[in-house]
Amino acid sequence: MSGSRPGRLEASLRAARDRGRKCLVPYITGGLEGWEAAVEAAAAAGADTVEIGIPFSDPVMDGPTIQAAGDRALAAGATPGGIVAAAAELDVGVPLVVMTYYNIAHHMGHRRFARSLAEAGVSGAILADLPLEESGPWTVAADDAGVETVLLAAPTASAERLAAVCARARGFVYAVGLLGVTGERATLAASAVVIAGRLKEITDLPVLVGVGVSTPAQAAEATTVADGVVVGSAIVRRLLEGQGPEGVGSFVAGLRRALDGAGP
């Protein structure tokens, strides 16, 4: 409930915001070769939270880059349990969030999945195809386990819908920056700033823009309004190209510099 104390994820993003810092959340596909080192590199380079993808066979919210990464991870034998267990071993000093699709949680069982995340020290979860209306059984289990369920807010939503999403979101509100799936874009969509602005007007939760934020300049532009950004495909592509943890670290450091320059 809105009266309850914020969880670790929300608290740490709020603390960053209170210090005048823009939040940076890199996304890394779990199960890709070297992904754990990439998570550590991203954290060391200035991430405020790291989002770990648990691959699903049918990722309808993802574009070609994250699809390819998920396919490669699955072909290499990645499993939800294996990724969560490996996440438990990471010591990165920032909260971790997993992002996956609902069937993974449904199949394992809401309570079991939520508990496994909590036991691994994962703070939050994003289920890309679980909208507000269907989220009840999962969020009850997640709340009980102390896992913060981040909800997506899209440009297509009415004002009432955005308010309802914000009321149920935990951790932060994930503002979908454009109409479309994940993937790098040449420019930041105008809708990114618009949706962030609509959300900032109605919620005190941290508002982070994701989907279509791919460069330091775009991150800076989005955070003229938003509290932070989620950057996925631009990072995952570097891993797929073999740039390794160093490539991820230096790209994330560049994003960090751009955000720090854009801060108040």
Partner: protein, 384 residues
């Protein structure tokens, strides 16, 4: 029991729902409202009925099969959806959705297709109404249903071959959903079966209800009542839902026939993909398995949620047949009745033929959901 409306949340018993990315929720809600309004609007219904009659050629006949009945030792009736314009039942749903899309002010249709029949029907409706049309089709299906790819292009549609995953129907749906997420403001997703998020399973079944309503009337005239058994093939389950809906409140046995390599009801467990909770072929981690069937239209690891409900309540049962049995049935109907069926409804006949002893003396209605022209090449290749 009758096949009526799902709950407002789109549930048929435990199954169904609307599991889509947040971006699409308003579109699904808008569609639900638009469909309810249109379905209650006499002018809309009249316009659809007129198109079904004057453009698609409805009502489709009910055909007795004297020679094949004698060979099987039962009385076989065929509901001739193969005689509809574009060659399958798919046109019923597509004309309904295209009119609805137009009414909602959408100018573009996107569709997935397996065998190509739904893609051809969607391209046809788009041409008829002057709309743009994009069809996603798995690479495997593009090569095994070449004729339909050409037909779609001839009709003015853009056809995209999908190279991800199993490169069949499941992946074509993923790609169509991704398109819709990006274009939802002007695009209607014309989904081809009784699956996906609410309101699709319900709406698509209602657009196919005409099959069951006609068949019940025709059976009353021809045999004086309902048949003993109603049989239909099940991929997503639209032709089956259409014909079952005419008989569900009576005593006829309802039998859905799945391919052995894509038996979601037969071998699946509850799971969520493509917008609804239903039976699903999945591995121990919840990853969706790839189906494997000779029939592109049934090569799908899931099934519409209302079928999951009919199976769980026992009102319908679901059987499966092998590719070999299907090929035999394909030839059997061609040879004995002069009707070349699509491989999909040949599944239904394959089950009837296998169970002929149990069905002896009974009246069996098979939904002949499509004609076999599209499959002749493939079967020719298999016969070497």
């Amino acid at each position: 029991m009758s096949m009526s409306e799902p709950t407002p949340e789109g549930r048929f018993g435990d199954f169904g729902g609307c599991y889509v990315p947040e971006t699409l929720v308003p579109a699904c809600q808008e569609l639900d409202g638009a469909f309810r309004a249109a379905w209650a609007d006499e002018a809309f219904r009249r316009r659809l009925d007129d198109l079904l009659r004057d453009y698609a050629g409805r009502p489709s006949p009910l055909t007795e099969c004297p020679r094949l009945s004698a060979e099987l030792g039962l009385r076989l009736l065929l509901k001739r959806e193969d005689l509809n314009h574009t060659g399958s039942h798919k046109i019923n749903n597509v004309l309904g959705q295209a009119l609805l899309a137009e009414r909602m002010g959408k100018t573009r249709l996107v569709a997935e297709t397996g065998a190509g029949q739904h893609g051809v029907a969607t391209a046809t409706a788009a041409a008829l109404l002057g709309m743009e049309c994009t069809v996603y089709m798995g690479e495997v299906d593009v090569s095994r249903q070449e004729l339909n790819v050409f037909r779609m292009r001839l009709l003015g549609a853009e056809v995209h071959a999908v190279a991800t995953g199993s490169r069949t129907l499941k992946d074509a749906i993923n790609e169509a959903l991704r398109d819709w997420v990006a274009t939802v403001e002007r695009t209607h997703y014309c989904l081809g079966s009784v699956m996906g998020p609410h309101p699709y399973p319900w709406m698509v079944r209602e657009f196919h209800r005409v099959i069951g309503s006609e068949a019940r009337r025709q059976c009353a005239e021809l045999v004086g009542g309902d048949p003993d058994v109603v049989v239909a093939c099940v991929g997503g389950g639209s032709n089956a839902a259409g014909i079952f809906s005419g008989f569900a409140d009576g005593d006829a046995e309802l039998v859905g026939v799945e391919p052995a390599g894509g038996a979601a009801v037969g071998r699946g467990t509850p799971g969520v993909v493509h917008g609804s909770l239903s039976y699903l072929m999945q591995d121990e981690f919840g990853q969706v398995l790839e189906a494997e069937s000779i029939s592109a239209g049934l090569d799908y690891p899931g099934v519409g949620p209302e079928h999951a409900h009919l199976a769980r309540t026992g009102r319908a049962r679901y059987e499966n047949v092998t590719d070999g049995e299907v090929l035999e049935a394909f030839e059997l109907l061609s040879r004995t009745e002069g009707i070349i069926p699509a491989l999909e409804p040949a599944h239904g006949l394959a089950w009837i033929s296998r169970e002929r002893q149990a069905l002896a003396g009974r009246t069996v209605l098979l939904n002949l959901s499509g004609r076999g022209d599209k499959d002749v090449d493939l079967v020719m290749g298999l016969q070497g």
